[in-house]
């Protein structure tokens, strides 16, 4: 069940995660967010971009404390918590934001 992005058909898995990470482009996040009735703001993009940078270095999404700490440093302490992240990504920063960022879904007991 591929998704349509800028006229290209991209393969996603059963849960809507991009099958091939290299096919990601910002429009992928826009298309996925639109399908879930979410409008991406600069605040969302801060998170998505951080996830992508971290993934490039470590081959995994950041742990929640790594993420909140980085957000706190960059955007101010009041935003460095998971409550802020859940406000942005109601399905959970780990899963929803990873999906938009083209990362694989975090698996396990999370």
């Amino acid at each position: 069940m591929p998704i349509d992005v800028n006229g290209k058909s991209l393969e996603v898995d059963e849960e809507g995660y991009l099958s091939n990470l290299n096919e990601w482009e910002p429009a992928v996040a826009e298309v996925m967010a639109k399908a879930e009735d979410l409008e991406l703001t600069d605040d969302h993009w801060e998170i998505i971009n951080f996830l992508r940078e971290y993934y490039e270095e470590y081959q995994i999404a950041p742990a929640v404390r790594v993420l909140t700490k980085a957000v706190g440093k960059k955007l101010g302490k009041e935003k460095g918590n998971s409550k802020y992240l859940y406000e942005l990504f109601p399905y959970g920063p780990g899963k929803q934001a990873c999906k938009y960022a083209g990362l694989p879904k975090p698996t396990g007991c999370v």
């Binding site: 742990a63 404390r65 109601p90 698996t107 396990g108």
Partner: protein, 511 residues
Amino acid sequence: MAEYEIPETHEFPVIPTVMEGVMSHSAPFLAKAQFQEPLGFPGDAGLVDGWKEMFIEELGNMLKKYRSLQVFMDICVKCGACTDKCHYFLGTGDANNMPVARQDLLRKVYRRYFTLPGKYFPKLVGAVDLTEEVVNEMYSYYHQCSECRRCSVFCPYGIDTAEVTMAARDILAKIGMGQKYSNEIIGKVFKIGNNLGLPEPALVDTMEGLEEEVEEDTGIKVRYPVDEKGADILLVTPSADFFAEPHVDGLIGYGKVFHAAGVSWTVSSKASEAANFGLFIGNYENMREISLRIREAAKELGVKRIIFGECGHAWRVAYNFLNTLAGPWDFLDPNYPVPQHILEFTSDCIDKGILKLDPSENDWMTLTFHDSCNIARASRIGDYPGSQFEIPRKVIKAVCNNFHDMADETIHDRTFCCGGGGGLLTDDLMELRLKGALPRMEALKNVIEDKGVTHMAAICAICKSQFTKVLPYYGMTMDQIVSVHQLVSNAIILDGQDDDEAENAETDEAA
């Protein structure tokens, strides 16, 4: 939040009207070849050629290998004691979720091919032919059992439903119908070392972050070491402890306890996972291979002891089988149990007066405790009957002033599963998870209303993640679930951590 029909909670449990097939649509994603192969299973998200003969042969092998399974297939007298004991039945009302009915999905095939009356007079004894429809029904309903064994507590013959589910899942995986969630995870353990797929550099980065965090909060350098050779203790903990909330607050707590006790410890990047999903899929070979990683890590690091973090089924595997799966452990210090649970360690420290504790740090909460099924019914923490119920409560009460238990029929060995155990903690089973959480949510709501409880503590990564997800659907908030060692972490006062610093940390948090 996605839309689901959430069952109503009541002041007293209500047994639902039995309905046929209302959950027959529920089934997790099948594992594609890429997730089957690393585990030694055939197929690509569907039945393989010759599946029928393979099914019968495999069932035959299992009946010979596991005498318990043979007994469970023969001994049920349909007394009905189990029918209303399953959280998935209570939450869904589906007839096949009465444990006896779910077991019968395998039993009726067993009768057809392995009993004389079933071979000659199938209709008289409820035996059925093995068809694709029968197999699909099994795939659906054997993934509506969390292997929690609550029904077994009430069975006069002690039939272990979990074992029947495990056998069925193992057979299904071997004919091409493995479950994506569990199998993908086991593949990651083999490849990377943990369920998450957290590689060593990310693990080190995460643990360094925790060191910084604890130092900021307390002013004390508490170490969170990775792969440190010569450490006394190897901590084996669920990888969710590195990754998720509230799990990570528990991990912070383990580190503080070790620090206060003055012992050296480490986690291993090779065995950076306590969980053993080999148990969930009922496959011995995979369970063993996962366990052996712990042995290799313990040898390589030269540790003297092994301690497990807060993880329910991991402790079941470790407590019951670690010696047969990955022993002998004669290279470890014989003065300590192999393995040991983190709660045993902390409880000992409390008994010996090693920890300086200020329970008033947790005064803003009133706690209750959720017994994890695999610890309550399948293992023990401590060394006397029932100590697995008492030790967690003892530790909580040592670090919290306000505690109330939930209703008697929902705790200790009669505890309800969180609704996400046994390899079902996956988004493709969200409807089942939400409905299966009903009995626990009901008991929690009642103790919130009657006793003013504000938070529920748990000692299992699955329970913690499941409750984080389902609490909002039942009108509560995700942060009402906490780790037991998170409570310890809040209350512990480390040497050199003067009160000023503690107060500063508090004001910081409030700000």
